[in-house]
Amino acid sequence: MDNELGSIETEMKRGFLQLLVLIILEKDAYGYAMVRACRKLGYEIEENTIYPLLRRLEKRGLIQGKWELNEERPRKFYAITSAGREMRNGLLAIWKKQDEIINHLTKEK
């Protein structure tokens, strides 16, 4: 049962994480900072998942990455693009609709 729950959770997280990153990146951030921000909110992100996701979003033009070399340690900062904002709004609308449906159905019971 636990295994099954874990595998469904992974499926659910896949889409949720994309939305989460697009929301967080309204303000420029780098990978580890995003992991910490989520942890503070009580949401654990697998560290080795965030960077491949950022790379895919960057390839699709939804976010833009830039290496910051002036700091103590080189870090790649990401920022959302206009296409990313459009996508984020679309995903939020889907998310809200799904949330409404689930709320409605669970209240009925």
């Binding site: 990978g31 580890y32 560290e47 080795n48 960077y51 491949p52 790379r55 340690r73 870090r75 790649k76």
Partner: protein
């Protein structure tokens, strides 16, 4: 430079081989691990890095998250990998049998060459033939998968899957009696043939008057052809006796494979007989070529029909076995 971190990154790099952005990926992971080690342990050290590296995941697992998820062979084609391999291998096997019987090489231009083989060579050749067939089919399906097109690959209707073959109905008493009568008739014929062979070294006579036995064929070919026919009669008798009982599908398939293979070998031996020096009685020369053509055509047609049955039975058995 931290040795354990660099070793870890090198391992990830190995699995990312061929990706243009490999160095950038590694730099990002390095930056993340160093920062996390500093945040959690207060300072970067080999010991703190070891803990963070272990938590980050196995190198292959990490690298795979960056790789394209397209499978080598699409799930929709995986079943065909086994089906096509068994079909191709079954055809290959028939060619191997022919190569052994006729002691000849075959070329089916431009793809296929079947060298002349002895029995032992053929047995050694079989695994290589199977691997070649598997490789060819896998390569074909790989290219189709990578093309990302919705090909509807065919599957010949003459070879249903074993699970699509209807289970044989339990034999009725009448059917059992009919098979039993047939088996006894075949047994009698075999016994008569054996008796004639022991007495005259051939079973072919010009007339049915066995008091004045006149052989139809010359002694040497007569002996060989008689033996072949006796073996065929005996095999047919055994087959009929087995079929009196209701057989499981798999066993019935195996029985067909064995009898088909044996029949192919025997037909091969018959085809190798020089017909010009076959008859002990005088046959008008004008008829000889016609008899030769008619005999060859009949035997080749029978061989073709048996080969098709053999292929279809092998595919049924093989596909089921490979799919497990």
């Amino acid at each position: 430079m931290y040795k354990n971190l660099e070793t870890y990154l090198e391992e990830i790099s190995h699995f990312l081989s061929g990706r243009a952005e490999r160095q950038e990926i590694l730099s990002e992971i390095r930056s993340h691990i160093l920062e996390k080690a500093e945040q959690e342990a207060g300072a970067v050290s080999e010991a703190s890095l070891e803990k963070v590296v272990a938590a980050y995941g196995r190198p292959r697992q990490v690298a795979e998250k960056y790789l394209d998820g397209r499978p080598v062979i699409a799930p929709a084609f995986k079943r065909l990998l086994f089906r096509y391999t068994t079909l191709l291998f079954a055809i290959h096997l028939v060619f191997i049998v022919f190569a052994v019987i006729f002691k000849k090489s075959f070329i089916i231009f431009p793809f296929f060459f079947m060298p002349r083989l002895g029995v032992i060579e053929a047995v050694i050749y079989l695994p290589a033939a199977f691997l070649t067939d598997f490789g060819i089919v896998a390569l074909l399906l790989y290219f189709i998968t990578q093309s990302d097109k919705d090909f509807k690959l065919p599957w010949p209707k003459f070879v249903p899957d074993l699970d699509e073959v209807k289970a044989p109905a339990a034999k009725t008493l009448a059917a059992r009696i009919a098979t039993m009568v047939g088996a006894w008739i075949m047994l009698t014929l075999t016994a008569v043939a054996v008796k004639l062979f022991i007495k005259y070294q051939t079973i072919f006579s010009v007339s049915f008057n066995f008091e004045k036995f006149r052989p139809l064929l010359l002694p040497k070919p007569g002996r060989l052809v008689s033996l072949i026919v006796i073996v065929m009669l005996a095999a047919g008798t055994i087959g009929l006796f087995i079929r009196i009982f209701t057989l499981p599908r798999r066993f019935a398939c195996w029985l067909d494979v064995v009898s088909d293979s044996m029949a192919l070998v025997l037909i091969g031996l018959l085809l190798r007989q020089p017909y010009a020096e076959l008859f002990a009685v005088k046959i008008p020369p004008v008829f000889l070529p016609k008899i030769r053509i008619a005999l060859t055509f009949t035997l080749l047609f029978a061989a073709l029909m048996i080969a098709i049955d053999l292929v279809s039975n092998l595919v049924r058995l093989g596909r089921k076995r490979l799919a497990k």
